[in-house]
Amino acid sequence: MIRLEGVSKVFKGDVVALKNASAEIQRGEFVFLVGPSGSGKSTFIRLLNREEVADEGRITVAGKDVGEMSSWRVPYLRRQIGYIFQDYKLLPKKTVYENVAFGLEVIGRPRQVIRTQVPAILELVGLSRKADRLPDELSGGEQQRVSIARAFVNRPLILLADEPTGNLDPATSVGIMRLLDRINRSGTTVVMATHDRSIVDTMRRRVIELDRGVIRRDESQGVYE
């Protein structure tokens, strides 16, 4: 599903974000990216989504060479990739329902599809009763659920998560991880960058550890350290 071959990325000022990184992630896998701040986790994720382009090496996502892809194809790549963030990136003036619907509306899905898909996904993340609330009326955990609903409503092949529990307390984090686990079990590949030791240690999934842009460790049922 995802393959990196000798990928390097250097930012301005010789900041090495990724150095000769190679990895292969199969369909349906759940992968944690761990490592200290600045170790290249975010860059790893952003390269998969073509938010960044690698300086060297080759990245293949869902059978497509991401680096060689012409820019007009990028939106179609992103329709197969859900993306969630530490800060949720919800639109503050839209309700929960509208935020999720927005993700479908702007890729031109017919209204009929939106009317059936949005309630279904809100049911999945457990927010059916809060569909008419605005984001600032929700708790952090609820906001992250909305963001997951928006990322998953189009049933992407891959879900990328950059520190999704970074702003949440441990109890709420567990709830979010249960949801991501459930999504993963439905066949979606999940790649999650995190600092959260207890989550990684509890889930016992594949762990890729980065250190100053280099892949230090890649274990199939790893722990944080």
Binding site: W72, P75, Y83, G103, E105, V106, G108, P110, R111
Partner: protein, 298 residues
């Protein structure tokens, strides 16, 4: 497809409304600059028409008094027929003068009704053998002294006055208009830029979930195009005011007889209006296209 169209329309109008003060400024600037463009075009056309009777080598026109006697008329015609200094001439009798008057002022029936063929001055449009300005002036002076002649209009005098007038005015207007059209484009660019800034978060999310670049751009480009079109639509009535008040003022002026021909048909005003709408739309589209390509790295 229909829902997408609805999305574009809704997003465009929401954005127009959110940005109201800048939107109004942009629209008014477009309206003023296009009014000037239109006025300039009308004055140019008016001048062309006013000097139309001096085409095909006609250098001066002898207007006879409406009540000139047949003898007086015959004397003039005698000179014209026999003088080697005259290459040719055409006679415009009362009926023909009236017909021409009717045509020139076809959009002002009250003016046409106020005169009859009987009061129209018949005239000779004269092509001299030597079109040199000094020679024409001398011949005009001689004809002017003949009994029965009301006045002599020379091409050199009259055309120079009209051309000078219309060139100065229409060029000044055009320069101002070009500057203002540029200002409008910049203002539209800024308005659209502000609209993009106000929706930065939305655009970020749109890109992340895989909206195409054109899907993101179209509402902003529509917004700029609408600024241009509304501005142009406001300039259209201004054009009719120019036609009705300014050109009409010259037609009624006694200072220069030829200004009486300073009129443009209504069809020309409508044609110009369509051009203004096209210019407005294009300026808006260009301004917003620059804004979306420069400030929205999608």
């Amino acid at each position: 497809m229909l829902s997408r169209l609805w999305y574009y329309v809704r997003e465009t109008f929401v954005s127009l409304w959110r940005n109201l003060s800048l939107t109004v400024a942009a629209i008014l600037t477009v309206a003023i600059s296009l009014s000037l463009v239109g006025a300039s075009l009308l004055i140019r056309e008016g001048a062309d028409r006013a000097t139309a009777q001096f085409q095909e080598g006609v250098e001066f026109i002898v207007f006879m008094r409406a009540d000139a006697s047949a003898d007086q008329d015959g004397a003039i015609r005698d000179v014209l027929d026999n003088s080697p200094a005259i290459l040719g001439y055409s006679y415009v009798d009362k009926a023909a003068a009236y017909a021409e008057f009717q045509e020139l002022f076809s959009d002002k029936p009250e003016l046409v009704e106020s005169v009859t063929a009987e009061v129209m001055p018949p005239s000779y449009r004269i092509v001299p053998a030597n079109p040199d300005a000094g020679n024409v002036a001398e011949m005009a002076r001689q004809f002017g002294e003949q009994p029965g002649v009301k006045e002599v209009a020379t091409a050199t005098d009259a055309i120079r006055q009209i051309e000078d007038f219309s060139n100065r005015v229409s060029q000044a207007l055009l320069v101002a208009a070009v500057v203002l059209v540029g200002v409008s484009a910049l203002l539209i660019l800024n308005t659209v830029f502000t609209a993009i800034g106000a929706r930065r978060q939305e655009i970020e999310v749109m890109k992340l979930v895989g909206a195409t670049n054109w899907f993101i751009r179209i509402p902003f480009m529509l917004e700029g195009t609408i600024h241009g079109l509304i501005g142009a639509a406001l300039a259209v009535p201004a054009l009719f005011v120019v036609d009705d008040r300014v050109l009409a003022y010259f037609q009624e002026s006694d200072a220069v007889p030829l200004f009486r021909g300073f009129a443009v048909p209504e069809g020309f005003v409508w044609d110009t209006s369509i051009w203004l709408l096209v210019i407005g739309g294009v300026v808006g589209m260009i301004g917003s296209a620059v804004a979306v390509t420069r400030y929205m790295d999608v």
